[in-house]
Amino acid sequence: MANEKIKGKATENSNLKGTLASVFLLGFFLIFTWVSVYFLFLERL
């Protein structure tokens, strides 16, 4: 079936390593910001 052919092609060609790295960097940035303000909060308690 045509569909299966397409699927096969997909697994060969789609390399999304950069996307994986990007979302990790994004996640780290979110955590870093949150933790920074959290420490500010603790300091002012």
Binding site: K9, G18, F29, L30, T33, F41
Partner: protein, 548 residues
């Protein structure tokens, strides 16, 4: 009713009318913004006894409410006409009725703000009391937008009828989700305006339940920010892939994220009321959890964008971890402006997670940090995406083409905006962490050492604000050119195609009975008990105040 590559001329006029009003609002509101930053620097006072709060109300209403709503409805009319076919005369007629109601309402609201009878800021919190004309004008804006929403629904229903068991065009589906979201949430603001604020400002009742009015406002106010954001996401998901020459990563993922926004962006208004007495902590907690759920579709969007760009770059032979970045069309303002908007959404989203956390909210609540936050989300991410869309949408609708020179100016505009906003919003964030309040004219608070610490940041805000104002002048030059002076010709309305590798979209995604039932159920769970509590255990209401 065939799918057309070009928006019909009559539909184009309707869309353009909305866009013109949006950019007039940008001109006036931008001037107010510049004046605010100058006043707050302490080096400038407004002439002729004009109140800072009159200017600030003008700015918030014109940019937060008018620019956004008009641009969004105009853009959506164009996108629906382009992807689901030319409107019937009836749909277009009601679109014009909606336009005129909104425009008359805007003029009325602006009039009462400018004569100093409504300096209640764009959130019009009780017990600040405006002239009844202010509330009536806002009511007309909302009713007009509902009529336009129903015009879009009618057109969508007709498409579905003519294409049984087919998945609707992605942009049309997204516009419908956004208008359903708008309709459900604006019921809250309509309720507080019509049942509480208007009778109270007319003097029919003496006192108002402040907590109920604020709760109804934020029941509306948070989804409002998604009403702004979703059209930007429409452009990112469905249009940017075409502009860069790539494919939509996944149609289902795009639709699913919109559905999640519909579910989770309404039952979360308490995250704006975390410091509010009179709401049980448990219900605040429930809504904070739901708020973190609404971060998920935004993270999905980030993933989809990275994937779209990487797939495209690799198809052009990019190698290495980030080589695909180099393949993107950096010289094309239709891509560059929204892309810079996306970049700014990273710090914007990070700030949003801080705002939404109950304890951290205590650090930033009502400080200028919050203003810095939404000048990233709204005034950069959303606005730059809209500017980027205007660069093809306006010439498409006006039958003109963007020249190379205008494209270059648009690239410069984007850079100017990014620099100005980095200064203004960055210093707002830092000053906010040091406790500087939002919504206040310049004061040294009796030379208190803490307030003196804020002044350098306020000067930086004025520098940023001045640069941003130059950005506003540039975009107005470009938009005027595209609407009236650019060479005649055909401009493409780009609509992306789905990658062949993507899964097929399940039809269940358009089961509106199910979608709306879940939306309503979540709202009832999050709001019913605390809302009853606010009414049953209400303190005596408040009289109206005019503090300006």
């Amino acid at each position: 009713m065939n799918e057309t590559l070009k928006v019909d001329r009559r539909d184009a006029k309707l869309a353009l009318a909305h866009i013109y009003v949006a950019f007039i609002a940008l001109a006036l509101g931008g001037l107010a913004g510049l004046l605010q930053t100058l006043v707050r620097s302490g080096k400038f006072t407004l002439p002729a006894n004009i109140s800072y709060y009159t200017i600030l109300t003008t700015h918030g209403v014109l940019l937060g409410l008018v620019l956004t709503t008009f641009f969004i409805i105009g853009f959506q009319f164009a996108a629906v006409s382009r992807t689901a076919g030319t409107f019937s005369d009836r749909v277009r007629f009601w679109g014009w009725i909606g336009f005129w109601l909104m425009t008359i309402g805007t003029a009325m609201t602006a009039f009462f703000i400018l004569i100093g009878e409504a300096s209640v800021l764009y959130t019009f919190y009780a017990p600040l009391q405006a002239h009844p004309g202010f509330y009536l004008g806002l009511t007309l804006v909302v009713v007009g937008s509902w009529i336009s929403g129903f015009a879009i629904f009618a057109h969508y229903a007709r498409w579905k009828k003519e294409h049984p068991s087919q998945v609707s065009p992605l942009l049309t589906f997204m516009a419908v989700v956004n208008m359903v979201l708008w309709l459900v949430c604006s019921l809250g603001v309509a309720a507080t305006v019509l049942i509480q604020l208007l009778p109270w400002s007319l003097g029919l009742v003496d006192r108002i339940n402040v907590l109920v009015s604020r709760t109804l406002f934020w029941y509306f106010g948070h989804p409002l920010v998604y009403f702004w954001l979703l059209p930007a996401y429409m452009i990112w998901y469905a249009i940017i892939p075409k502009i860069i020459g790539g494919k939509i990563f996944s149609d289902s993922l795009a639709r699913l994220s919109f559905i999640l926004f519909l579910f989770f962006s309404i039952p979360v208004g308490f995250h704006h009321q975390l410091m509010e007495p009179g709401v049980e902590p448990f219900w605040k907690y429930v809504q904070v959890v739901l708020t973190f759920m609404v971060a998920i579709p935004s993270l999905m969007t980030a993933f989809a964008m990275f994937a779209t760009f990487e797939m495209y770059g690799r198809s052009k032979g990019a190698t290495g971890l980030f080589g695909w970045l180099r393949k993107l069309p950096w010289g094309d303002a239709r891509f560059f402006a929204p892309f810079v908007g996306m970049l700014f959404f990273i710090p914007a989203g990070a700030g949003g997670l801080v705002n939404a956390s109950h304890q951290l909210n205590q650090v930033v609540h009502n400080t200028i940090w919050v203003t810095g936050h939404f000048h990233l989300t709204l005034a950069t991410t959303v606005v730059l995406t809209f500017f980027g869309a205007a660069y093809w949408l306006i010439p498409h609708l006006s039958g003109r083409v963007m020249t190379k020179a205008m494209n270059r100016l648009a690239i410069i505009q984007t850079i100017v905006w990014a620099i100005g906003m980095a200064f203004m919003s960055g210093s707002m964030h830092f000053a906010g962490l040091l406790g500087a309040p939002r919504r206040s004219a310049f004061s040294t608070y009796g030379n208190s050492p803490q307030a003196l610490e804020w002044i350098p940041y306020q000067i930086a805000q004025a520098v940023g604000g001045t640069i941003l104002f130059i950005g506003i002048i540039l975009v107005l030059v470009i938009v005027t050119n595209l609407a009236f002076f650019a060479p005649k010709g055909e401009t493409e309305f780009p609509v992306g195609e789905v990658a062949e590798t993507a899964e097929r979209t399940p039809l269940a995604m358009e089961n509106w009975k199910l979608l709306i039932s879940i939306t309503v159920a979540l709202i009832l769970i999050a709001y019913t008990i605390p809302f009853i509590d606010m009414i049953q255990n209400a303190p005596p209401g408040s009289k109206g105040y005019k503090l300006w």
